[in-house]
């Protein structure tokens, strides 16, 4: 139905093939490497509380903030040791999926 109708190029093992793309392939998102310094929202949620401020030294496993989604409160913890660089959200705020919540140095 809405598969792409335009012949394009696809390179595999150094050979370039002329072929149509599927819509899924044409619309695929390029991979963005995960930045370990960024803490992002996994799903849309509401920020309930923030327990750290910029400059604060934190340890792996330490609670950073609490968000509420799907009627559950989830504690977001640090994945590694570091220093908080920026806090981008405040309690009561709604955040979208993948929104940046907090940044470590």
């Amino acid at each position: 139905m809405s598969d792409e109708r335009e012949i394009r190029q696809l390179e595999l093992d150094d050979t370039v093939y002329s072929t149509l793309y599927t819509r899924k392939f044409a619309e695929r998102k390029p991979y963005v490497p995960v930045d370990p310094r960024q803490v992002r929202a996994r799903i849309p949620a509401m920020v309930v509380s923030v327990s750290v401020q910029p400059g604060r030294r934190i340890r792996r496993g330490e609670a950073l903030l609490v968000v509420e989604a799907m009627k559950m409160r989830n504690e977001i913890t640090a994945h590694h040791d570091g220093v908080v660089a920026r806090v981008l959200v405040t309690p009561g705020q709604m955040v979208a999926k993948d929104e940046l919540l907090l940044e470590l140095e």
């Binding site: 595999l12 093992d13 150094d14 093939y17 072929t19 793309y21 819509r23 695929r28 991979y31 989604a69």
Partner: protein
């Protein structure tokens, strides 16, 4: 009561139930562009072939004022009939009666006809048009769904199960179609999802319409949950009738043969494939050039189009066709196409339908998204289902058969009974460019003119390996054949393997990489 009044009483009772939810509800159904449950059954089955059962089944719910409510047939019509003379069991949810909501009595009518179909060894057709669980019945409604799912699973591989989504089919209810073999959807009418737009909005803040979430197009093109897409209910019913002619009644039978027909003229098989291995063509033209009447009935046509599956006939016998499609994504295997192939192969194997595989693929689709989506596990399904299949397995290598893709596409090594290759076949670890760049890396890099050296080495590799003769010399293929001989070889292979009986070590069941 006199005889006559008993008859009159019966007729009144029957008419009451048959009128379903009454004129108002029926008018509403029609306004939505939908036929009623009984109209649908009549349209699918042969004229006057429908026999209805359990007309007078009533629910037992007494809560929330339900004891004062009588629901015609408890919102579902069940019975048996024929399609082009083939016997089928059928049920159709009646949206005009309490929104087709599923209570225990409703579910038990369905499970009864399912049990019937399994015992009698006849296909089951389920028409889904329901608002979901009958909330008033609480856990009994859930029990009803569970009993249906359990039977869908027991019936899987025993009788063909066909689901027709002609209205909403949401929440747990979608798992019944999902457990069946073929799902039919109709534009603007079918809606399938686990959680609807409202819940998604509340929980995740994402806004989407029912159509964009789980409409007919989405389920056919994006999710792959549906196998057949139609613009209207009547077109959908024609598709169902056609499907039924290709498949057997049950797993102990074979599909009925049809009078053999030659392919239609105008399908010049030797002109389909371009000489260059990187040019596209439509592999369905090859299928049409070899099958009876050039009639190829494609399954999941709009999803994972880089691989083609469907039914056709060879000398009157049904075959299941699996073919790489060089026209789309060069015919690579990926997550979706692997899924599509594996499911179809298992259906054919379960129902004694010989498999004919046409091979032309450069390998697997590279990509982070593919690896992260589990292409390892999904790709393994193809290997598993081909290896597991004991129906006659015939493979024709048209052009490229590289690397892991060569192995996966029903190679001799996975138990193919016959492997034929056209002279254009290239059976190798990879394409000449890639192979030359690896094997002759240092020679190419050290040459005064690396590009000239690369061209020379690619030509050398092409000359030596990009052909079917090394595989032929090792007995990995049985014959190199002319394209024009393909139909004859296939028909002969089918005839010679008609009594094929392959046994496997006894076990409870395998553990495929679902």
């Amino acid at each position: 009561m006199s005889w006559l009044s008993k008859i009159r009483d019966f007729l009144t009772r029957r008419d009451t139930v048959i009128s379903g939810g009454g004129p108002k509800a029926i008018e509403k159904q029609r306004a939505m562009g939908k036929l009623t449950a009984r109209q649908r059954i009549t349209a699918i089955l042969d004229p006057d072939s429908f026999y209805e059962y359990d007309l007078f089944v009533e629910h037992r719910c007494a809560d929330f004022g339900m004891d004062k409510k009588s629901l015609a047939g408890d919102g579902v019509v069940t019975g048996t009939g024929t399609i082009m003379g083939y016997p089928v069991a059928i049920f159709a949810q009646d949206f005009t009666v309490a929104g087709g909501s599923l209570g225990l009595a409703h579910a038990r009518k369905i499970t009864k006809i399912m049990d019937h179909a399994m015992k009698l060894g006849i296909p089951l057709i389920g028409i889904n048009d329901s608002g979901g669980a009958r909330i008033q019945e609480g856990v009994n409604s859930l029990a009803g769904y569970g009993e249906i799912f359990y039977r869908n699973t027991l019936a899987s591989g025993l009788i063909p199960q066909i689901s027709v989504i002609l209205g909403p089919c949401a929440g747990g209810a979608v798992y019944s179609p999902a457990l069946t073999d073929f799902v039919f959807v109709v534009e603007g009418i079918s809606k399938m999802f686990i959680t609807g737009p409202e819940v998604i909005k509340t929980v995740l803040g994402e806004e989407i319409s029912m159509e964009d979430l789980g409409g007919a197009r989405v389920q056919t093109e994006i999710s792959g949950n549906a196998h057949f897409y139609a613009d209207s209910e009547l077109e959908c019913f024609e598709q169902i009738k056609k499907l039924v002619t290709f498949i057997p009644w049950n797993n102990r039978k074979r599909a009925d043969p049809y009078p053999p027909k030659p392919p239609k003229p105008g399908h010049a098989i030797e002109k389909i494939i371009p000489a260059e291995p990187n040019r596209p063509y439509d592999v369905r033209d090859v299928v049409r050039a070899v099958c009876d009447d050039s009639d190829f009935f494609e399954v999941q046509k709009h999803w994972a189009a880089n691989l083609v599956v469907g039914f056709a006939r060879l000398h009157g016998q049904t075959i299941g066709v699996v073919a790489n499609q060089p026209l789309v994504l060069a015919g690579v295997l990926d997550v979706d196409s692997s899924d599509k192939a594996a499911r179809f192969i298992r259906f054919c194997d379960a129902f004694n339908i010989p498999l004919v595989t046409f091979v032309d693929l450069p390998g697997y689709l590279p990509g982070v998204d593919q690896e992260h989506a589990g292409v390892i596990r999904h790709g393994a399904k193809v290997l598993y289902s081909y290896s597991e299949a004991t129906v006659p397995k015939i493979t024709v290598i048209l052009r490229k058969a590289y690397g892991g893709g060569y192995i996966a596409m029903c190679s001799r090594h996975l138990g193919a009974d016959f492997v034929f290759a056209w002279p254009s076949a290239e059976i190798a670890v990879m394409g000449p460019e890639g192979a030359a760049n690896i094997i002759f890396r240092s020679e190419i890099q050290g040459a005064p003119d690396p590009n000239a050296m690369r061209r020379e080495k690619v030509a050398e590799y092409t000359e030596k390996f990009a052909n079917p003769y090394i595989a032929a010399a090792n007995g990995h293929i049985d014959a190199v054949i002319l394209p024009a001989e393909t139909r004859d070889f296939l028909i002969h292979a089918m005839e010679i393997s008609a009594q094929k009986a392959e046994s496997r070590p006894s076990k409870k069941h395998g553990v495929p990489p679902f």
